[in-house]
């Protein structure tokens, strides 16, 4: 038993600390694992390939007496919280993306979440990104040292003949001394340091998407993982306080993007109103702060339900435009929409309009967004009125829009009801609530009692104890019989609503305590971990 604690997560990737006899080791990192784990010397003749069938694996699998604990995809792992896991032969999985993801998902689901994962003989500067993205934390120098023995010069972009070292590409101490071994190890360490930064920034996906473009297998791994809906859904935070870079077609299938679209369809409750206006997106987020949307707001004058048509999210209702990733995504705008974007956007729009039928739908759009709207109109067999022309923000277009809405009744957009429906899947009666904006902050009260405040970084509402009374069930974390002082640690959690994701607002309930806070890990980790902060507590109810 060593000790292991995850400090910060970004999807499967994490910053963590492994307690070792030589002191704490901050991961992801590469070390000489034969020094760290003396028991590795006792594993002679123990090879069992990843593709070995179950009966062979059962017969010859060697768990190891000490650390690290060996696991194999064909057999039930025998590992506990705090262990370091080794997946033998993981380097052979890299050339088989389908198997890689199949095994990864099976093993990750079968092993406690608070375990360090060691991929032996695998890490190179050119693949460390995908290994960390897949939830591996610990590496060795075997693969880079082999490259050195082969006379290869390693960079994150790939490996090159040794003489490329003299081309001035790198100026590390190894390169200055023409020491290939030192350079190659340094290149791996540098890459891991960079990955640690991107995990800390909650931008590991963006980093991995950019790195992966050099290697087909890496892109394939990302795509296969994206297709693992349920597995990824549990592991991707509900919100981040960070940019989401949608720089390639792969972003359409990011779990964050798909979740947003799914919640808009399944959870979100729009304001009552039977006229919808479809608006184009803006570069500035939230959209309301942009020049164009100020003009649209003036023309609409509240007389329609405002829906913003955009790629890759599909559809962003005005009330929830502050929620991640609606206010956080960044996409190259060229005016060209590819077929995948058009089809995803059109089906999001058609789905929404079928669920929430409107008497009139006004498409104040141009270009690809208009094309997507036309496709949606076909799908749900509705007539859309078009007022956008070539330039929806032009005076002429705005005038057409305003005239089209002549005589329509004002719709009351309700950010509180909208956000709570998206966030908790509830329909809250907001009558009698007072909403006050103060710059980007929003405070919701009823009488003198504060109920909710808006987190401007993520767009979620933070309920007070009074606010939680309006959310009768779900998003509860049940803790053991102890008074709350500070954050809730995972071992103190008895159960948690399985819908809770990292970043969710939660209510902590125990025999001795009631507290509000934010989930620092998803529900399954709270229940299965014996270390780490489960809930960052904001307020404890004083009796």
């Amino acid at each position: 038993m060593t000790g292991y604690e995850v400090i910060r997560r970004d999807g499967l990737a994490r910053l963590s600390v492994l307690a070792t006899p030589h002191g704490p080791l901050h991961l992801p990192a590469a070390v000489d694992t034969r020094d760290l784990f003396p028991d590795l010397a006792n594993r002679e003749l123990s090879n069992v390939p990843l593709t070995a069938p179950e009966d062979f694996a059962r017969q010859y699998h060697l768990r190891g007496k000490g650390q690290p604990v060996t696991i194999h995809p064909a057999i039930e792992p025998d590992a506990s919280s705090g262990d370091c896991i080794i997946v033998p032969g993981w380097h052979t999985a890299l050339s088989n993306p389908r198997g890689y993801v199949e095994w990864l998902v099976r093993l990750k689901e079968a092993v406690p979440p608070d375990t360090a994962w060691y991929a032996p003989g695998t890490a190179l500067p050119s693949n460390a990104h995908i290994l960390c993205y897949s939830g591996f934390d610990l590496f060795d120098y075997t693969a880079v040292d082999l490259k050195t023995a082969q006379g290869r010069f390693c960079l994150p972009e790939g490996d090159f003949p040794g003489k490329v070292m003299d081309e001035g590409i790198c100026s590390c101490p190894g390169c200055r001394e023409s020491d290939l071994l030192q350079h190659n190890r340094f290149a791996l360490e540098r890459e891991l340091a960079l990955i640690r930064q991107f995990i800390a920034l909650h931008q590991v996906r963006e980093f991995v998407e950019s790195r992966s473009r050099m290697t087909a297998e890496h892109v394939a791994i990302i795509r296969h993982l994206d297709s693992r809906n349920r597995f990824m859904e549990e592991r991707i935070p509900v919100v981040r306080d960070a940019r989401l870079g949608a720089m390639s077609g792969d972003a359409l299938f990011r779990p964050e993007v798909r979740r947003f679209a799914a919640r808009v369809l399944d959870r979100y409750l729009p304001p009552p109103g039977d006229v919808a206006v479809l608006l184009p997106c803006s570069a500035r987020k939230p959209y309301s702060l942009s020049q164009s949307h100020r003009r649209f707001a003036g023309a609409v004058a509240g007389r329609a339900v405002e829906l913003i048509v955009t790629s890759p999210l599909g559809l962003v209702p005005r009330e929830i435009e502050r929620i991640y990733p609606a206010a956080h995504y960044d996409i190259p705008v060229t005016g060209y929409w590819d077929r995948e974007e058009l089809s995803i956007t059109a089906s999001a729009l058609a789905g929404f309009l079928s669920r929430h039928p409107c008497r009139r739908i006004i498409a104040h759009l141009d270009g690809g967004a208009l094309q997507a709207a036309a496709m949606a109109a076909d799908i749900c067999e509705k007539e859309f009125e078009c007022t956008g022309g070539d330039r929806p923000a032009s005076d002429g277009a705005l005038k057409r829009l305003s005239e089209a809405l002549e005589g329509e009744r004002v719709v009351r957009h309700d950010i509180v009801r909208g956000t709570l429906s998206y966030q908790f899947g509830v329909d809250v009666d907001t009558r009698g609530m007072a909403v006050r904006w103060k710059n980007l902050d929003l405070l919701v009260r009823k009488g003198k009692n504060p109920l909710f405040s808006l987190d401007p970084g993520t767009g979620l509402l933070r309920p007070t104890f009074e606010g939680w009374k309006l959310i009768p069930e779900g998003y509860r974390v049940i803790i053991d019989d102890f008074p709350v002082r500070g954050d809730i640690l995972a071992p103190g959690v008895i159960s948690a609503d399985p819908r809770i994701l990292e970043g969710d607002e939660v209510l902590v309930e125990g025999p001795q305590a009631l507290a509000t806070g934010r989930a620092a890990m998803p529900a399954f980790e709270m229940e299965a971990s014996s270390r780490g902060i489960a809930v960052r507590v904001r307020k404890v109810l004083k009796e």
Partner: protein
């Protein structure tokens, strides 16, 4: 249906001669002499064990034949050999089957007798699994071929593969033990025949270093028991369990550097025919140095001149540093490191 009846017709039609699975002439080193030799691989009733992970002869068999029919099919192959090879100049004959020459179910007694008649006076090497070694039958066969020309006219060859029971079981699934081999060797010697042991260098699931150590130990242990030792660097044959691991990057045949170092340091003369040498499915290095090393190994096997091996080993190659790193860096939990 149609294909089956066609096959039956083909097999049963008179005048169609069966061909051995393979048959070639070569040279073999025997007691300071290079002998012209003939190697024959016969298609038979098939190996009774039939489970070895690297063996592709599993499908090479006559299925469900009566002993008489089987005998005539094999004898037809021997006729083919007589028709296509001039046996007069051949002095040594090596007979392999897809299993065991001395398994009476696989090779009926009539075939054994015919073989003895055809190759009478030659130095015969015949391969078998140890469970079919029985001094009476071996002695009878030897008596039939013996013309007094050779001290030991028959050598019984057995695929011991390794002296480690664990490796033979796990990595090969060979189905017999070191003790089984020892008993068979004793029986063979009792009958007056010689014993040849085949060792398999680097079966599945071994690091380069584990495989090297296994062969060093095996050569040392078996050298006092076998009269001849042949080192077979493992090759990847089609439709085998080994091939599927090789295809998924989980197996690599041994480096020729390992083969060289084994032959150089062996305490006794060990012959080696690096089949598939220099190819990705056979023992190989980087592709640059392979040819010279394979040639040196073949020449050594015909001369017992270790200088030939030492020359190519010392000449080196860029890939020798890679091999040296693999020996220390490759571990059971991260292997193979190279392709």
């Amino acid at each position: 249906m149609g294909l089956n009846s066609w096959n039956t017709y083909e097999k049963e039609s008179p005048g169609v001669m069966e061909k051995p699975l393979a048959c070639w002439e070569g040279r073999d080193y025997y007691k300071d002499e290079v002998l012209p030799s003939l190697t024959i691989i016969l298609k038979t009733g098939g190996c009774r064990h039939n489970r070895c992970r690297m063996c592709s002869y599993r499908f090479e068999r006559y299925k469900e034949q009566t002993p008489d029919k089987l005998a005539s099919l094999i004898i037809s192959q021997l006729d083919w050999v007589l028709e296509h090879h001039n046996l007069e100049k051949i002095r040594m004959v090596k007979i392999y089957t897809s299993g065991s020459f001395f398994d009476p179910d696989e090779v009926p007694q009539g075939v054994v007798n015919t073989t003895a008649r055809i190759f009478k006076g030659k130095l015969v090497v015949a391969e078998t699994r140890p469970e079919f070694v029985e001094s009476g039958r071996i002695g009878e066969f030897m008596a039939m071929i013996d013309t007094g020309e050779w001290d030991t006219p028959l050598t019984v060859a057995m695929g011991l593969e390794t002296t480690s029971d664990f490796i033979r079981e796990k990595c090969i699934d060979k189905g017999f033990s070191w003790q089984d081999f020892l008993s068979a060797a004793r029986e063979t010697h009792t009958s007056g025949a010689g014993v040849k042991a085949y060792l398999l260098h680097k079966p599945l699931f071994l690091t380069e270093h584990e495989a090297l150590t296994d062969m060093e130990q095996s050569i040392r242990t078996v050298s006092g028991i076998a009269d001849m030792i042949s080192l077979n660097p493992c090759t990847v044959q089609r439709h085998t369990e080994l091939e599927s691991y090789w295809k998924s990057g989980e197996y690599r045949p041994p480096y020729l550097w390992s083969v060289l170092s084994l032959l150089i340091s062996a305490p006794v003369f060990v012959t080696c025919d690096p089949v598939g040498g220099g190819r990705s499915r056979g023992p190989h290095n980087c592709g640059t140095c392979d040819r010279d090393i394979v040639d040196a190994i073949r020449d050594f096997s015909l001369s017992n001149d270790r200088g030939l091996l030492i020359d190519v080993f010392e000449k080196g190659c860029r890939c020798r540093a890679e091999w040296e790193y693999i020996l220390s860096g490759e571990q059971p939990y991260c292997m193979p490191l190279s392709g």
